[in-house]
Every structure is written in C-alpha cells, then in structure tokens.
Symmetry: C2
Subunit: 99 residues, 2 copies
DNA sequence: TTTATAGTTGGAAATCTTTCAAACAATTAT
DNA sequence: ATAATTGTTTGAAAGATTTCCAACTATAAA
C-alpha cells in the first residue's frame, strides 16, 4: 500500500484545510462557538464573545470562508456567519461534536 | 456561553496539536499509513512507502512524538514507530478512521 | 449632513514552519 | 578494522502565518 503525496483527492485536501483551520486557537474558538450556538451569528456578536481584535477576526473568518467551513450573509451593515456543518460532517463525521 | 481563549484545557490543547500535525501533507500521510497498516513500522520501511527526505521524515516523526501521537521503540539500529491510537481516539473519536 | 457602527484591506513586524545538505553517532555486516 | 545501514542533529534558506495599526467602504442613526 503505497501513498503518493502528489495525488491528494479534493476530499483529502478539504480535510487538511479543516485541520489547519482548527489548529489555530482563535479559529478553533470561533468554530466551536458557532457549533455550540447552533445557528448563524453576527460578526460583532461573535466578537463580543471571542476576544480577538476585529481585523484579526476578519482575517480568520475570511480563512474559514475560503476553506469552505463557513458561509456568510450580509444584511445591511451586519454580516452573519454560518457554520457549514453538513459539509464538514461529510468529510470528518462527528468532529464538530468533539471540539 | 463565553469562551475564554486564555484557558485551554490539556485535552483541547492536545486536540489542536493533532489538528496541527494532520494539516501537513507529510505527517498526514505518515499517520494515515500507520493507521491503515495497523501495527508499528520501522522508520526505513515507512520511508520506503512515503516519499520524504530522511531528515524531513525524522523531523516529522519527532513532531508526532512530541505531540504524543506516536511512540517509538529502538531495536538495534532500527527504530519502530507506533501510532497511539487509544490516546487519539480518546480526544477525537473516529478521526483516524476517517483519514 | 454629520456621526456612529460594522466590517474589510494593506502593509509591516514578529514568529513559526518546512525543507534539505552535511556532519554526526550507533549498530551491524564484510 | 572497514564499510554499510539507520536515524538524528545543526544550521541556513525560503516561505507561510499571525497580529495589529491605520485607513478605508458602506450602511444606519442623529
């Protein structure tokens, strides 16, 4: 059973990116909060619960969005973040529940 | 429900280190290989299956050992690596099976 | 219109990560 | 004793990541 590093499936790539995201305390906290709250949250609400500079928060949320772990919705001047639970569970079943 | 970043439990810390380990392709491949093989492997045997420079391999194995994801045993000039399945499953149940 | 609120972006600084070559130690084989 | 095999370590180079300030856009409120 040989494993070639060159050929990584999309799923594998997504998994690794999830691992990368969760290896950073700030993002770990954000994801954990979103999961436990169980519904979308406004960025500023998130920011009120998680102590991170607002631009750092923005940076982390962009990372999570680029990876595909969250989606966002803008309403007026507020932005709501929603955890993409289904997609994450599809490649790493149960991981969110164990955070 | 507030989450303070300052206080991370040991378990949470271990989880994050596992995520860190698995976010790197080389280590991901090593861990996956060890899991699927299902028993300890000699470093050179590992190196024959996973294409990584030997010193890079050594570096990654040291990281995995420091995190506590693997243990090693030396016999003669060979070194055997064993995945600490129980400990990993204790904090992230089923994660190895989904790699 | 002016001001406040929500969030993004650019850029710089500090730090961390990964990789490899070269030299090394330890063990086994010739 | 010499040579080959196993694996570690050091150190340097290149690159990635995180953080924060300051300036910015856009919407809503006064």
């Amino acid at each position: 059973m040989d494993i070639k590093q060159s050929s990584a499936t999309e799923t594998e790539e997504f998994r690794r990116r999830i691992f990368f995201a969760l290896s950073e305390p700030g993002r770990y906290t954000i994801v954990r909060m979103l999961y436990h709250v169980g519904h979308e949250m406004g960025c500023s609400e998130l920011n009120r619960h998680v102590e991170i500079d607002k631009s750092t928060m923005s940076y982390h949320l962009r990372t999570l969005r680029e990876i595909g772990m969250v989606t966002t919705r803008t309403q007026g001047r507020e932005k709501f973040v929603r955890l993409n639970t289904e997609r994450i569970n599809a490649v790493l079943p149960g991981i969110l529940a164990s955070l």
